[in-house]
Every structure is written in structure tokens, then in C-alpha cells.
Symmetry: C2
Subunit: 204 residues, 2 copies
Amino acid sequence: MRPGSGLYPEALERLVSQFAALPGVGTKSAQRMAFRVLDYSPERAETFANAIIEAKTLIHRCEICQNLTDGEICSVCSSEKRSKATICVVADIRDLYAIERARNYTGVYHVLHGVISPMRRIGPEDIAIAQLAERVRNEAPEEVILALNPDTEGEATAMYISRLLAPLGVKITRLATGLPAGGNVEFADDATIFRALQERIAVS
Amino acid sequence: MRPGSGLYPEALERLVSQFAALPGVGTKSAQRMAFRVLDYSPERAETFANAIIEAKTLIHRCEICQNLTDGEICSVCSSEKRSKATICVVADIRDLYAIERARNYTGVYHVLHGVISPMRRIGPEDIAIAQLAERVRNEAPEEVILALNPDTEGEATAMYISRLLAPLGVKITRLATGLPAGGNVEFADDATIFRALQERIAVS
């Protein structure tokens, strides 16, 4: 039944449309989710509702790196094991988590919360670039790694940041581009092969 | 990042696991949903949380037919346009909505909230069969349509109900089985063709 058709009780329709507003959730899935919630115990439903409220009220951006945190400073910035000499710049929190999963990065991060995109009218002032420049000025790290997507917007953003930071004398690097690990020359797209050739590495 | 890995703020992990507990939602989708909620305004997040609580507190089963309702009696039972002489028995609320979508049924319903399943240890007393028998006894409808799935559990449940209601002298029918509308003889499964042949209809 389509929400608004009046067959569902209104309270159910409201819940279905809340689920349907989430990314990747169609009406059918939203209905299944709402029915599942109706099967929950009252306590369980309240735990769910509280999780939404608490995520919204407790979580904010880390003062230093703009990562998400429920404290003042995020778990990465407050860790003594992480070197402050390297700042890895990512567009999105999810990129940070992806890099953490690889488990070989021991520096800190800076989350831009977006990339420069003239098409979507996002300029440098709309993302956390000014905070990055100030941080590099104050903390004088040795290296800034631009871990942005190797696409038009990511590269435009990387270009903008590297020009902005150049006068500060910090070493600026970016992630390597090339064949994905476990990948396949035959099926790689032209742009990937082009860049893998350009950035080829001497073998011992 | 897997929930519990400690990289996410705890409040975010809790929200991710709530979403991941919903049907058809994997960890990745649950994360995307949680991030979307973080982007909500506080008011919007509160509306979402309230929708969960209200669905749980306001919605219950219709006294007459066990359909979901936020009043005492559901919209179908309370409609003057619906004939009480025919009761359509469905296993699940979603089956009721599916039949409503077809827009050619004008009787009322009875929702069993399950089917008899020895495998899953669901007996006749675990679903709303007693309420149906009492209703047929009291209301003396002309016809009971058993709109249960044409599978083992659905048919066992239909058999049980038809035996239980037989002494009450009500006409008992079930939905036709056969090729789905717009379906295809070539690709129909054996059981469907078998039953479509058995239940073949005279052409004028």
C-alpha cells in the first residue's frame, strides 16, 4: 500500500515514510522495516528511538580534525600512538574509516566534509579547507597526504589545497593511483591503466 | 568499520547496529543510514524517533479482525461500504494490503498473524484461529475465503480451518491457483502448471 492511501494506520504510514527517506530504501523495504519495528518489544523500540536522538545530540565534529566524535577531541587525535607530523586529508568520514581499516596509517586526519564542486556549487569556503590551512600553519606537520578520490572533483580539490599550502613549506603527497590490489590488467579501465603506467615503479 | 571496533563514536555504533538489525539491511547500508541521520536537523531526527515510539504505542490489533489499527476498530471493519457477509482470512497484514490493492474485494478480513507450522513449532493456538471460529459462530457470515499462500504451511492451515468451521455451516472457499496474470506457460513451474490444469475453467 502506498503511504497516504489511508489503509495503513497513520502512525504506521509516518514510520514507513521515515524509513523510505533513508538512502537506498524503497517503499517495500520501508514497509518491511516498519513491520519489524511493530514486532519489537516496547523497550526495544525505545532503544531504537533513543539511538537516533543520542546519535544526533552526542555526536559532533572533532575540534582539531573534523572527524566525528562524542567527546571534544576524536579518538584518533587523542591517541598518543598517532603521529601529529602527518595529516591525511579526506573528503568524508567514510574515507577516514576506509583508511583506518587498512591499518597501516599511523598519522592523524583532517576531514574536509566535501570536495570543491562548481557543478554542485560547493566552493572552498563550504568545506573545512580554512581549518586545514590554519592547522598546518599552527602545527607545522611534516607532510600532508591528500587522500581524495582520483576523479575530477577530488583532483580539483587536491590542486586547490596544494596551492594553498605550498607557501607553508609542508611536504604534500597524494595516494598512488593504479591497478587495485587483486585487480586485473585485462579488465582495468583505460584511465586506470594510463595512470598505472604513468606512475610505474622501478622493480628493485 | 565494523561496529564495536571502537573507531566510531559509541553513539554512532549504537545507531548503526539498530539499523543493521532491520530486515534486509547489511552493515554498509546501516552505516549509510546512520550517516544520513547525522545529517538530519535535530527536529527531523526527533520526528523519526517519535515515529518509532508512536508506531509502537498507537498501533495495535483491531478487536474484530486483528488488522492493525490506531483506533479500536480498523478502517476496514468500521467502513459501512464493506460487507460483513464475507470474511477473507489472511496469514499476515501484508497479505491484507495486497488484496486491498487489487481493489475488487468488498468484504471484511480476519488476520491470523501466522500459519500453522510444526517445523517452527507454531500451533493453531499460537495464531488467531480461535478468534476466527468465535467470529464465524457469532456473526454467521455467508462465506469465509481462505486467502493463504498455496504452500505446505498455508494449505495445512487452510485444511485445519476448514475442518474447524465445517460444523458451522459456512461456505468455505480458497483463492484460485494457476498462472499469474501476464505469466507464461513456458516458464511456469511444474506445480503451478499442475494446479492450473486441475483447476481449468470452461471457456463460455
